[in-house]
């Protein structure tokens, strides 16, 4: 099977090269070559799917002759995690990269098969170039062959690290990867547009969805990673400004900027250099993320070991950056803006500010992440920056972003008159002020001014967004006569991009509220309690009722039952524990070795809308360990036949002696020893219940942290709404030409302006000017169209 896989991977590599070559050969418009190029890309995708199926079936069958299976799975690994173990390996994650890229490339080429004839060949070549790079890595770079085999095959594998056995870890890596990889599509089309000098908004219209999908995947991946850290690592935080986290955040931030600034190019023909540079930056950051995880260049809690592919990826980044920069510079004349910003009080100028903020934030994080290298360069000492440094810059930038998230939707495109501005800003500003006063009067939020500022502006922004929905729905009700709720649904589903985007804004603001509250007003204590003792933290009485022990085939769990009381009333019980996994895939010689594996915390979590109560336990198992040592000694004595040892020892010793030179009997004897040792370990573990030793509990009272997860999910839902194809789009996608798309976009702008006018955002005067401009532009488009 492995050799079949290798062959298929080799074929896939050839297919990627062939698809790129065919596309370039047909770049002058040879329909046949282009069709074959596209089919070859589909074939490439099919081959990679086959490769993944072979690997996954090897995981499912426990086929330890596959090196990748032996090192990352074991017989005891639960089935779901067996399948997810593929991407916990270096080679498997590269395979996943290639697979996702092949899927994204196929989807992009299918979607554009009737469009952008001149540009698609170049985009195909770029995507397949990247695909060939990653497939080639697996084939030719040392130690990353997913089909490497072991001969003889071991009886059992090493197993998946228990820390990674968490539901969100099964989907976190594929989500991040899909995010990283999907940015290849807009990047490739941008390169195509630059090469062919087709620098209107067509490449953006064709790939906007992919950028949004990439953004949503990456964001969801980040959220899952944060959730995993919060519930699984026994640390209680969700973000640490660790290089690998930063590496995923940076392309997400740049992607956010890109999603906003492309709207300016679509509507106004501006920011062309900026957009091309942003997508190049985003894609490079995605590659950099892939690189950082595998390079060991920076000290990270995610230690990924030495590896062999780092330098190659760095090479690819260099090629991407230098090539794209040269291309952009050589096309500067074609990249000139078609128009200028009319007024500072317009949506496009707010988008520009938001872009600068996002890019500024990325720059800060980039500097901080790579500071150890920078400082080594200048001072010769590797020095690193901790979370407070990052917070100092990202906090004000995030607050400013919230401010502009609030302002942007309230302004119309092109220009806003003073009169209409006064009208739309009145309510949001009032809400912001009321929130501030209420927080100062009724809470101690003023003890942290940054947090207070964030809450105030969040109130302002959320009120503005609510007003947008409200006045939009009211305008629609007037136009169509639908009742309120129906008008709201109709409004959102007819303007999915706009209102989906607003829902994303709501989600991100809610998420930031959760972050601000939980990071500024958290109570974090370590307490030592003996069974029966209590402590009071933040008005909650926590009583250590009793210790617990659970033993199963793969781990020992030492934990506790805690009674939680608020204001003297029982509100529930928490059961934090710590699991000590048995090492798998190696001979266990002593009872002590049963405790030598990985340990993980199972957090006791009581989530709530206002507070999370989070408790992790560090049980004191010193007494148990003493017992283990004594048991090991006893066991050795038993095997040696020390006088006074129980009669079973004699039988066991006899079995051992009889088995010398007989492999079958020897295995039986060893098996029996292992059974006895395991029994002894269980008995010793039970003594934990009687020791009455004090355990250390880490108790965190985290205000509003639940809203972080809820906000993230709201944002995801908003992205899905914005992505969902409209009915017309679904039918029209098959036949739509570029001219149709351009017309459609302009009509949408006209409808948008009408809605803004009806909703009171545009004054009659502003609307008259804007409408005349838009209609003129629409006529221009119609004039340019050849008469059929």
């Amino acid at each position: 099977m492995a050799s079949l896989g290798s062959a298929l991977l080799g074929l896939a590599f050839a297919a990627a090269l062939a698809a790129g070559a065919l596309a370039l050969a047909g770049r002058k418009g040879d329909e046949r070559l282009l069709t074959w190029s596209r089919r070859t890309v589909y074939g490439f995708c099919g081959l990679l799917i086959a490769c993944v199926v072979i690997i996954e079936s090897a995981f499912a069958r426990d086929d330890f002759s596959f090196n990748i299976v032996a090192e990352h799975s074991s017989i005891e690994t639960p089935t779901g995690y067996k399948l997810a173990a593929m991407w916990s390996s270096q080679e498997g994650s590269l395979l996943l990269w290639a697979l996702v890229l092949s899927l994204a490339a196929s989807a992009a080429l299918w979607a554009t098969r009737h469009k952008l004839r001149d540009l698609v060949p170049w985009a195909t070549a770029v995507m397949m170039g990247v695909a060939a790079f990653f497939t080639g890595l697996m084939l030719f770079a040392p130690d990353v062959d997913p089909f490497a085999t072991l001969d003889p095959a071991p009886a059992d594998g090493i197993g998946l690290n228990p820390l990674l056995q968490h539901p969100s870890m099964m989907i976190h890596p594929p989500m991040l990867y899909s995010g990283y990889v999907a940015f290849t599509v807009p990047f490739a089309f941008a390169i195509g547009a630059l090469v062919t000098r087709r620098l209107d908004a067509e490449w953006i219209r064709a790939t906007r969805r992919f950028a949004l999908i990439a953004w949503a995947f990456l964001g969801f991946g980040l959220l899952l990673g944060a959730r995993w850290s919060y519930t699984e690592l026994g640390w209680g935080g969700y973000w640490a400004w660790d290089p690998v986290e930063n590496a995923a955040l940076m392309p997400w931030l740049l992607g956010t900027a890109f999603l906003h600034s492309i709207m300016v190019q679509e509507k106004r023909g501006m920011l062309k250099v900026w957009n091309a540079s942003l997508i190049v930056g985003t894609f490079s950051m995605a590659l950099l993320g892939t690189f950082l995880v595998r390079s060991g260049v920076l000290q990270s809690i995610h230690a990924f070991g030495d590896n062999t592919v780092g330098p190659y990826i760095l090479g690819l980044i260099a090629v991407v950056l230098v090539g794209s920069a040269a291309l952009i510079v050589s096309r500067l004349d074609d990249l000139r803006s078609e128009k200028r910003i009319d007024s500072l009080a317009s949506r496009e100028s707010v988008f520009l500010v938001n872009n600068l903020l996002l890019v500024g934030m990325t720059a800060v994080i980039f500097w901080g992440t790579f500071f150890p290298l920078i400082s080594e360069l200048f001072t010769g000492e590797k020095a690193s920056l901790a979370a407070p440094w990052f917070d100092r810059y990202t906090t004000p930038l995030a607050i400013l972003l919230v401010v502009f998230t609030g302002i942007g939707p309230l302004l119309a495109w092109r220009r806003v008159s003073w009169e209409s501005a006064k009208r739309v800003f009145r309510l949001p500003l009032a809400v912001g002020a009321v929130v501030t006063v209420a927080l100062v009067l009724f809470t101690d939020a003023e003890s942290n001014l940054w947090a207070l500022a964030l809450f105030a502006f969040a109130g302002f922004a959320l009120a503005g967004l609510a007003q947008e929905f409200w006045s939009g729905a009211a305008a629609r009700r007037q136009l169509t006569g639908e009742p309120g709720a129906q008008a709201l649904v109709g409004l959102v589903s007819r303007n999915r991009r706009r209102y989906g985007g607003y829902i994303v804004h709501v989600g991100i603001i809610v998420l930031l509220i959760g972050i601000a509250a939980s990071s500024s007003f958290q109570t974090n204590r370590d307490v030592e309690l003996k069974p029966g003792e209590s402590t009071v933290i933040d008005g909650r009485t926590i009583t250590y009722v009793k210790p617990t022990v659970a033993v199963d085939s793969e781990k020992f769990t030492f934990g506790s039952i805690l009674r939680i009381e608020e204001d003297g009333k029982l509100v529930g019980y928490l059961r934090p524990s710590r699991r000590f996994f048995r090492p798998t895939g190696q001979e266990s010689g002593t009872i002590g070795s049963f405790f030598a594996g990985e340990a993980t915390s199972e957090v006791g979590l009581r989530p709530g809308p206002w507070h999370d109560l989070w408790i992790a336990e560090q049980p004191n198992i010193a007494a148990v360990q003493r017992g283990v040592r004594a048991a090991d000694k006893g066991f050795q004595a038993c095997l040696r036949g020390v006088p006074g040892s129980p009669p079973e020892c004699k039988a066991l010793r006899a079995a051992m002696q009889a088995s010398v030179g007989d492999p079958q009997r020897e295995a039986q004897a060893l098996d029996q020893i292992s059974r006895l040792q395991s029994l002894a370990a269980k008995n010793v573990a039970q003594t934990f219940l009687e020791t009455g030793a004090a355990s250390t509990f880490k108790v965190i009272v985290n205000p509003l942290v639940t809203w972080m997860w809820i906000g993230g999910l709201i944002a995801l839902a908003g992205a899905l709404i914005a992505l969902w194809p409209t009915r017309g789009g679904r039918r029209g996608a098959l036949v739509r030409t570029e001219a149709d798309a351009r017309k459609e976009a302009k009509y949408r702008e006209i409808r948008d302006a009408e809605l803004d006018h009806a909703a009171g955002k545009l004054s009659d005067e502003d609307f008259a000017i804007l409408d005349a401009e838009l209609r003129e532009e629409a006529i221009e488009i119609l004039d340019r169209e050849p008469i059929a």
Partner: protein, 133 residues
């Protein structure tokens, strides 16, 4: 004001903001960072200065010590003289003998005293090879 001039002013304002931010960034990062050292370099380090120590926990050296732990670390390559370390508070899940840790703290009478909440243990095994089973 004519638009040409207005644009120029805007550009100057934007650029000076960027430069100011960059200067602040550089200044604060060099002053806020703590130097990274390995245990062997710390043995003779001046007491009181804050360092970020990266080292490998010596197997079997971890002992509970009141509300905290005491253990010894060696350089990441596993050689050299070991350095005694104390740390108060709970330790992260992956912490055990043989693991690489990053800890911020200072030397105090021959012992490296870690600051609370700064102990980072590297996540093992994801992408690592056989060396770290």
């Amino acid at each position: 004001m004519d638009p040409q001039r207005k644009r120029k002013i805007r550009l100057v304002v934007a650029l000076s903001t960027a430069v100011l931010l960059a200067v602040a960034l550089i200044y604060t990062s060099f002053s806020a960072s703590s130097e990274a050292k390995e245990p062997s370099e710390l043995l003779n380090a001046a007491p009181g200065t804050s360092y970020e120590m990266t080292g490998r926990v010596v197997k079997g050296s971890i002992q509970r010590h009141g509300n905290g732990i005491a253990f010894r670390v060696v350089d990441r390559d596993g050689f050299g003289q070991s350095l005694p370390v104390t740390y108060t508070g709970t330790v992260p899940d992956p912490f055990r003998g043989g693991r690489e840790i990053v800890l911020t703290g200072a030397m105090k009478s021959g012992t490296f005293v870690g600051e609370r909440e700064t102990l980072i243990t590297k996540c093992p095994s994801k992408f690592t090879t056989k060396s770290d089973g």
